[in-house]
Amino acid sequence: MLNTRFIRNVRLGIKTLMLHKMRSILTMMGMVFGVGAVIAMLAVGEGASKEALDQIRRLGSQNIIITSQKPAQGSGSGSMRIRLNIYGLLYDDLDRITQSFKHVERAVPAKLIRGTGRVGGRALELRLVGTTPNWFELVDRERIAGRVMVPRDMETNANIVVLTEHGARKLLAGQDPIGTKVKINQGYFEVVGIIKSESTDSGSMQTPDEKIDAYIPLNVAIERFGDITTIRGQGSRSREKVELHQLIVQVDSIEHVEATAAGIERMLMTFRPKKDYKISVPLALLRQAEATQRTFNIVLGSIAGISLLIGGIGIMNIMLASVTERTREIGIRRAIGARRKQIIGQFLIETIVLSVTGGFIGIGIGVLIPWLITMFADMPTIVTLWSVLLSVVISIGVGMIFGMYPAMRAANLDPIVALRHE
């Protein structure tokens, strides 16, 4: 019974609002744009942050990445001389990390060498990665053909190479890659497998792998290429001795990541006079990015809150005018026997119909705008379910809060006075 009365009240509310279509539409605009803005802004924010968070996650939340870095140096010492810079992670560091930290699951070394791969007439600049079979467990990439590196390759000092899809396409287009010999610098390596690379063109920042990678056993890399590289600059030459360029340390669980990273940092510092490495903890980056996202959401939330507040005030303003305009109607209803509560209900339903209709149109716009942004600006956007649900709740809430005062005003009118109203 109450239910049908409610439905009839809603129908009446819609009918009353339809009497002043233009006014109702204008009144709804505040809600439409408020809600639309909230959803659209959150979708853009969410899209941007998800991309960043995904990149960080790809590094692995359980990992610690240590990279060799040339220490900041008192410059200007004999630019004409060819000097030897010795810095970076040592083979010993790898052993120390695997042996003395109980939460370290595995540590994967990488020795990076620039080289040129040649097959027949084709050539491709490669980044040789001297590593251990562990690499492929840690940096989990899809295997496209053949196999990845196995412990036997290390034991037998096998001259094998695992290429990326990109590398294979450039060097071995059209032929069966497995078993092909690639000439890299002075030596020949047999291709045993091909993996996918997730890295983008630019990115070595966010993923440990690059698409021009060629993976060879670490001991073969040491044996063939040594630790010293010559770097040619404009007219100058410098030489560097670096044992390992990168160590990826996997910790047994997320809770131990930060403590272990701090422990490794302390340990490394005791063995060297200058800081010649950089430790990055994806988990910390992740936390930081999440915190940034939270701040961003709070700012967006405040802006959205203000626009919804303005929308709500607009609705309240119109409803107050409507109450004045319909004073006599209120008097008639009261004289007939409507209770105060029922008058409140009637006006409240009208505001809620306004705000919710506005809200739903706003949701439509809020979904459309991110879609257009993705279409035309090629930016990732994600319309989250919670932002839509939140908008629905907010629009009902705005209707209730801003409708309450005009509705109470209507209900508290003295019926006798209301009936006399012109």
Binding site: M1, R5, R8, R328, E329, R333, I336, G337, R339, I416
Partner: protein, 253 residues
Amino acid sequence: MIEVKGNMAKNDQVIELHEVWKTYRMGDQDVHALAGIDLEIKRGSFWAISGASGSGKSTMLNLLGCLDRPTSGSYALEGQRISSMSDDELSDLRLKHLGFVFQSFNLIPQLTVQENIELPLFYQGIDAHIAADRARTIANRVGLGDRLKHRPTELSGGQQQRVAIARALSNEPSVLLADEPTGNLDTATGDAIMGLLTELHNQGRTIIMVTHEPEIAAYAQFQLTMRDGKIASIIENHTCPSGIASLKNDAPC
């Protein structure tokens, strides 16, 4: 005791006023809009209240209509004393026992004729189908069965007042209250409306009407005249009243 009185009222007196005062305070002066009214209204009677402007007619009707409470004294409608009632209880009493007809019709413009007539039933929470049936029956009774889907603004004054009467009747009220029901109508239309009210009276409806026109008052069974918030006189019409009414041949004789 109270119950005995209540029963008595139920059977006989619809309305009982005892020493009713209504006092408004204007600045530092008291205005007695009603000054000690004693009145009993029998079920099925037809009353006209007249009197000079400011004599308290509207105040009286508002009070009888439970839109207002007396400053002092007691008012019982269907044996129920309203002095101590809450706003909601007064609303319920109006919904159940009273029907209002106003000088300016007071129909709700965004509702159709049918919806206007159904309004009291809507607030009573009566099933929509039953309410629609009843609205149709009543509309037929006041001669507007073919106008149910119209808006009030599409009707003439007389037709609008018929809708208002139909609305006032839809909840089967104990008392029909009318404030100058012919005030906005020309004489012929006014007489037709009075004919309708007379018919309702003949069917046993209790009607209380405020009017300042003697010709209209003549339709009633009792003519109550007010002066300065007091009852000046009550005249019972025994004979056929005014010539117009007898010409119409539907006067209460």
